[in-house]
Symmetry: none
Subunit: 203 residues, 4 copies
Amino acid sequence: MSYKRSFLMEERLADNRQRILKAARALVAEGGFNHASIAAVAASAGMSAGAIYRYFPSKSALFVEVLTSAIDHEIAILQAIVQGEGDVTARLRACVESFANRALEGPYLAYAFIAEPAEQEVDEARLLGRIRFGEVFKSLLIEGIEKREFPAQSIDIGAACIVGAFTEALVRPIAPRAKRDGRAELVEGIVAFCLRAVGAKIF
Amino acid sequence: MSYKRSFLMEERLADNRQRILKAARALVAEGGFNHASIAAVAASAGMSAGAIYRYFPSKSALFVEVLTSAIDHEIAILQAIVQGEGDVTARLRACVESFANRALEGPYLAYAFIAEPAEQEVDEARLLGRIRFGEVFKSLLIEGIEKREFPAQSIDIGAACIVGAFTEALVRPIAPRAKRDGRAELVEGIVAFCLRAVGAKIF
Amino acid sequence: MSYKRSFLMEERLADNRQRILKAARALVAEGGFNHASIAAVAASAGMSAGAIYRYFPSKSALFVEVLTSAIDHEIAILQAIVQGEGDVTARLRACVESFANRALEGPYLAYAFIAEPAEQEVDEARLLGRIRFGEVFKSLLIEGIEKREFPAQSIDIGAACIVGAFTEALVRPIAPRAKRDGRAELVEGIVAFCLRAVGAKIF
Amino acid sequence: MSYKRSFLMEERLADNRQRILKAARALVAEGGFNHASIAAVAASAGMSAGAIYRYFPSKSALFVEVLTSAIDHEIAILQAIVQGEGDVTARLRACVESFANRALEGPYLAYAFIAEPAEQEVDEARLLGRIRFGEVFKSLLIEGIEKREFPAQSIDIGAACIVGAFTEALVRPIAPRAKRDGRAELVEGIVAFCLRAVGAKIF
DNA sequence: CATGAATGAGAATTCATTCAT
DNA sequence: TATGAATGAATTCTCATTCAT
């Protein structure tokens, strides 16, 4: 196996893997997990159904990865903001804005994030994702309370509520077949709600 | 066919319809939408699978109604609170408490409310349900702002955020296979979050 | 549900069940367990593949029953002989003759009896069947030794050897696509072998 | 292509062929024919799946050869005994002992020998193997009768019965997931049965 | 020549829906 | 009108075989 051969090979394999994930993601965004059968994913990725199984051991595993990787990506962005500059209030605002804007741009993530999937394994991945999202906001809440930017409050509950609040406010606009308008006001409204909710002082 | 006969007939038909809905609801509560096959619903309702189709044109239609009627029931309770006594803040608190307590008691409604169902038609019913839930809180927000209990704010967004916040904070506790403890603190935490979020003065 | 309706219904259901078993048995006899897919059984029984699952919970269960019922039938016949008249030697001879003649008549049983099936559950049923066949001959051996018709010998091993001996001697003639000739001499040869093997006095 | 090159080539090819057979044999021994997919054989032989097809035209052909070569080996051992020293009775005893001991040591051969394989071609090879085993004992029987060690008897049938008897008595002990104990008594019991069956004088 | 990714034809199983009785 | 047996299409997954590289 020459170097070049191996290199091209690996690249193609990685390509296929990504193509499958992308196709699966797109199908989930379009019609939910149930719309994304293995056959549909394969067709959309331009390969046979059997080929999927060279890259993923099962349908569950594929969709767990679809969900997890989307959430990973989202969380990495939020964590960069959390660890960035500025006071806690500003960073909380930035997190919500950032997530909301991306959700409105490419609606699939938030949609899948809320969706109840068929498979138990995917279900568990989704719950875990929600928890991980909560952690991000938990760290902000803790810091905000320490620095007296926010009043004392229940941290776990607050973090979950924030996630739920902006998620829900995005659900209708990002739902399949829904119009998306007035984005700026929407985002600003969500941010305002969250900042008030945590007791940020600017309001 | 005499009047009486016809009357009894209709009554029986209505009875069967309710039996089916009840059975379907119970099965969804037990194991989610996927656990409730037509055969299972029929068996649980004490009738044949074919008989279901005398009352509902399809499985989707049945589950749309299961969802809708559950939401109707929930909304009727909330609206009674909204139209009741007390200042807006107290009624908002009562709404959230009431919903949260019932969700923690019988977790299926809230779970199904958040869940993404298999069928597209059910999906749409769920979205509609979320909107209708929002309406309830919208009316409270409008009244609260009018009466100067709450500051001016985006009403649509606020209503959606409230629904999302308490929904999400309940997801983990009500998810299948999850423990439910510290209910009082949980409910109080959610209420506090929501009241802060709408700018209620008590805080 | 009237009596007549119920009666006819049950009869038809029982009929179908038997038709499925018969079709499965025939396919196994023709081409072994692997030749008998659910689709093939269904086609051969004149029904859809899905219908099989109204009568049997799984493919394994179907073939376990095919095997078990064939063995049950065979064992019942042998046990009747064992508990019948005559000295032990005569009854041992009758058992072997009876089994061999039926195997040569309808070869499927002996063939399936020897076959290694794909499914683990069927495999276990097959092993159990062999053991049960052995038991029949064990009881004859015990009685024969007690009554001094046979010398002392290892009973478990002897029983297994008898089963193996006549089974094997029948395999070639009863194998699919094999000629069957000289039946009388074959049966007599097998009987003679077995009687000598247990030390019956006539030889 | 020089002579030497060609020679080495052929040697390597022969090597690969043996590696494949060895790997296939090992996999059959571990988990039966169904456990030995082409991919598994290839991986175990340290080559690609496609490469298998340079040496064997099909999976069936490979497993026919696995079976045949195992039987060849076994028969060679038995024939060496048959053509060795001692009276016929002693050599018959040695044959059965030898086979039984090896079967109990490495149970795969005997098991595969009895097993019904998936492919029809393998099935036929198995039947042929049984016949060839019979031949070995046929020659002993003929010699034994000639030398008056055994009484006159049906040779073909007797040979088949011997094969079946010791095979069957070994099935349970060598079946997957079965305990193997009391080997010495087992082997002695089988030998005794066979010697009595052919009318050897020692008993 | 060897590779191993891809194919494609099945495999078992499930279940909403229909329709003869 | 009610029944529930039967259908048939769809599902996930497996694997011998092929063929571009």
